[in-house]
């Protein structure tokens, strides 16, 4: 369902069809860079589309500009800086790594490490129990009983 809400919004911009350009590139490298750039830069006018997929007038202009800059032997970072100077960080689908975005880029890794540490802590705690199993088992005799029943059934 959610996807077609997206469509309603696409439709409202009248850009719900593929944007197809017919640029001729000097070499394959430029063509590949063009594809990467228009895929990773966001169309400022559209709701959530990259330059490649959008048919909005501004997206066409920006593609044209990128094509011209590539033709003029400008580097990717020059092109990106050019866009950011005019439209702000909003156009970057790959947010810059800076203090403002530190949580965004590092958060998942911190969480992953924290999660794995918790697992290690848990397993250490539980594998120790092997030696003093009886006392921990006694905690919940009723549950053990029903659990045992389940296990027995599965073995059958």
């Amino acid at each position: 369902m959610f996807r077609f809400l997206l469509l309603l919004m696409l439709f409202s911009l009248n850009s719900a069809y593929a944007a197809i350009d017919t640029y001729e590139f000097k070499d394959a490298d430029k063509q590949a860079r063009f594809h990467d750039l228009v895929a990773d830069l966001r169309c400022p006018k559209c709701q959530n589309q990259n330059l490649a997929d959008s048919n909005a007038a501004i997206a066409q202009d920006l593609r044209q500009k990128i094509y011209e800059m590539l033709d003029a032997e400008r580097s990717n970072s020059e092109i990106i800086d050019y866009m950011v100077a005019r439209y702000g960080d909003f156009v970057l689908y790959e947010p810059r790594f800076n203090s403002q975005n530190a949580i965004l880029w590092l958060g998942p890794f911190v969480l992953l490490i924290a999660g794995l540490l918790v697992v290690i802590f848990l397993v250490r705690q539980r594998s120790k129990k092997n030696t003093s199993e009886d006392s921990s088992m006694a905690l919940d005799a009723q549950q053990q009983k029903s659990l045992q029943k389940v296990l027995n059934k599965d073995k059958k």
Binding site: F2, R3, L5, A18, I20, D53, D89, V119, L139, V150
Partner: protein, 652 residues
């Protein structure tokens, strides 16, 4: 008259859901059997009136009743009948009505298929679902009624359904997805019931598992279908855009995956109870959060759809009440029991726990990326975007780690496994998958490719370890057929789902690396070469559809001079909305798709044309379907029917 009847049925359904939210829960708290027994008939009554309400709206669409605002805005007399029906869920109000109908359907299903469930448990579960239904039906009636009229003067014809929605995929996609989202409400209700009653045993996990698995399967099938639809309908050849609306469906799916595995451990070994409860709450909470994100307009992807801030506020209140309430209950009543049983470093428990960590971190990554622009904006620090480069950079490596863990877990047993055992079982799969991973890019592509190597090795690692484990099942058995019959449906389901992960991973790897694409100006008679295929453009001709006119191109594709197929992409203009749409033409195949889309007409009968060569793209969705099928299969396990009954009796 009929729309008023629909509105009235909706009001009655609200009445029943309010009673359902109060009476059985009160009965369970005060041990009044009679009160608890009201749960089942109330669930039936609620469903009946939701269904009547839904049929009334469907009838209004079928009859072209444009005095109903919602019908006038989403249909047209020219629209083919099947799309008039699917237009019922083509906008905010009707889709919400479908949401509530499916919720009451799940409530009914729980009341019907719960013969072994103790009465107090059933009363609590249905009561909790009644609370959720109360929230959503109120939302419908107060802010989003689909039955409002244009009176006294109404339009003679409707504004038409968005042409992009006039498609088979979009008839089936929303109901499937909703079955998944809303299905997690059952696991959620079981978790809340467990917290309320304090009973959290293996039986509880056993009751929750089939509901969780089936909701997860629906959600997965819905996501898969959505991805496939975007691929053939949007004309960009993409299959996943990391758009907030897609992320909203991926997050509950990831957490639901974690929940399924954690429930398995809780059932078999009685551990991770608090964690399992939390996941059950999270899975449904993320479904609700997705609803908020999509309908409130806080994220760019959806803003044009929800112009009404009142709606956003209403859902936010619902979110606070349901999620906030359940997390508060969790904080006070979640079991704080120390471990009941022990497990070692190479136990299946530990590997499933690690898998849970990966899945949850993946879900959090998606959540963080989706909400980060909002957080930054709310702090007044400007507008930023988070898009595919971010998600791919973080999501893919974590997924790789998870896949390694998946293979390991096939060799591990409950409690503990010896290292020698694991080594012995996994050495061969490891060597085989690494070897094929190295060789594959040489044979298929034009030389070594590290990304293909990693992707293929990981996918093969799943397949080989699953196969190895399956083979191990026959070591002690003399009769192969006998053993095949003896293995449970849930075992086959698990295998199928894991193979599905591998198939999807192969698809993702190969289509992202070996895809080729060209945009060209083509005059009639001109040819493009792509991936050894020749695409010859033969010109366009006008065609006329039911409610559109189109330019239809003919493109003849040949391989080494031999004709493969003729494709007919179209550029359509829909009569009512006057909107243009590209209808891509695809020659599908198990190992490659050829994909052609028309752009703009240029001078002299030439057109801008885009052609794609998409290797193994079908594997993406094939894997998704295998996973869903696996999820469904587990439900047919005999023990869910027989043992649940005995367990129930034992506790009653």
């Amino acid at each position: 008259m009929i729309p008023e009847l629909g509105e009235f049925a909706l009001i009655l359904a609200l009445g029943f859901s309010v009673i359902l939210a109060i009476v059985p829960l009160y009965g369970a708290a005060s041990l009044k059997t009679l009160w608890m027994e009201y749960a089942k008939p109330l669930a039936k009554a609620q469903f009946t009136f939701m269904l009547i309400s839904f049929i009334c709206l469907g009838y209004a669409f079928a009859q072209d009743d444009f005095s109903v605002q919602y019908v006038a805005n989403h249909s047209n007399s020219q629209l083919p009948m099947q799309f008039k029906i699917s237009a019922v869920w083509g906008g905010h109000e009707g889709s919400l009505l479908l949401w509530a109908l499916i919720l009451s359907g799940w409530t009914l299903a729980v009341s019907l298929f719960s013969k072994g469930l103790p009465l107090d448990m059933l009363a609590r579960v249905l009561g909790v679902m009644g609370i959720i239904a109360t929230g959503f039906i109120s939302f419908l009636l107060w802010t989003s009624s689909p039955f409002l009229r244009y009176l006294p003067r109404y339009p003679t014809d409707g504004a038409d359904l968005n042409p992009l929605l006039q498609d088979f995929g979009l008839i089936v996609h929303p109901p499937l997805l909703y079955m998944g989202y809303v299905g997690f409400s059952v696991a959620f209700a079981f978790a809340i019931a467990a917290l309320l009653s304090g009973r959290l045993d293996a039986a509880w996990a056993r009751w929750s598992r089939p509901w969780t698995n089936i909701a997860w399967a629906f959600l997965g099938a819905g996501i898969t279908l959505g991805s496939w639809w975007a691929y053939y309908e949007l004309g960009w050849g993409g299959w996943w855009f990391w758009d907030p609306v897609e992320n909203a469906s991926l997050m509950p799916w990831l957490v639901g995956t974690a929940l399924m595995h954690s429930l398995a451990v809780t059932e078999k070994r009685g551990v991770f109870k608090s964690w399992t409860l939390l996941l059950a709450i999270f899975a449904f909470s993320l479904s609700l959060l997705g609803t908020f994100l999509v309908r409130s307009g806080v994220l760019t992807s959806v803003h044009a759809f929800a112009s009404d801030p009142e709606r956003g506020f209403f859902i936010l209140v619902l979110l606070v009440l349901t999620i906030g309430g359940s997390l508060t209950l969790y904080a006070f009543k979640a079991p704080n029991v120390k471990s009941e049983s022990s497990f070692g470093w190479l136990s299946r428990e530990m590997l499933l726990l690690v898998n849970n960590v990966f899945l949850v971190v993946m879900a959090v990554t998606v959540l963080l990326g989706t909400l980060y622009p909002l957080l930054i904006d709310a702090l007044g620090a400007g507008k930023i975007s988070v898009g595919p480069p971010y998600f791919n950079a973080l999501f893919v490596p974590i997924m790789g780690l998870m896949v390694i863990c998946l293979g390991l877990s096939t060799a591990a047993r409950w409690r503990d496994t010896s290292i020698e055992n694991v080594k012995q079982q996994l050495m061969l799969p490891a060597m085989a998958s690494l070897a094929i991973g190295v060789i594959f890019p040489f044979i298929y592509g034009d030389g070594f490719n590290i990304r293909v190597f990693i992707g293929m090795s990981l996918s093969l690692w799943i397949i080989t370890t699953v196969a190895q484990e399956f083979k191990g099942k026959f070591r002690t058995s003399s009769s192969v057929v006998g053993k095949l019959k003896q293995l449970s449906p849930s075992y086959y389901g698990m295998m199928l789902a894991h193979i599905g992960v591998a198939v999807t991973a192969i698809g993702i790897t190969l289509v992202s690396i070996y895809s080729e694409e060209r945009d060209m100006r083509l005059a009639p008679g001109e040819v493009i070469e792509l991936a050894d295929y020749q695409f010859k453009f033969l010109g366009t001709k006008p065609v006329k559809g039911a409610n559109y006119v189109a330019d239809q191109a003919t493109i003849e594709i040949s391989l080494d001079g031999e004709k493969v197929v003729s494709l007919h992409p179209e550029k359509r203009r829909y009569n009512v909305k006057r909107s243009m749409m590209t209808e891509a033409a695809i020659d599908p195949g198990l190992f490659r798709d050829l994909y052609v889309a028309l752009g703009e007409p240029l001078a002299d009968g030439a057109w801008a044309v885009r052609v794609h060569y998409k290797p193994y793209v079908r594997w993406l969705w094939l894997g998704g379907l295998l996973m869903a099928l696996g999820g469904i299969l587990t439900v047919f396990d005999r023990r869910y029917r027989k043992n649940a009954k005995q367990q129930g009796v034992a506790h009653a």
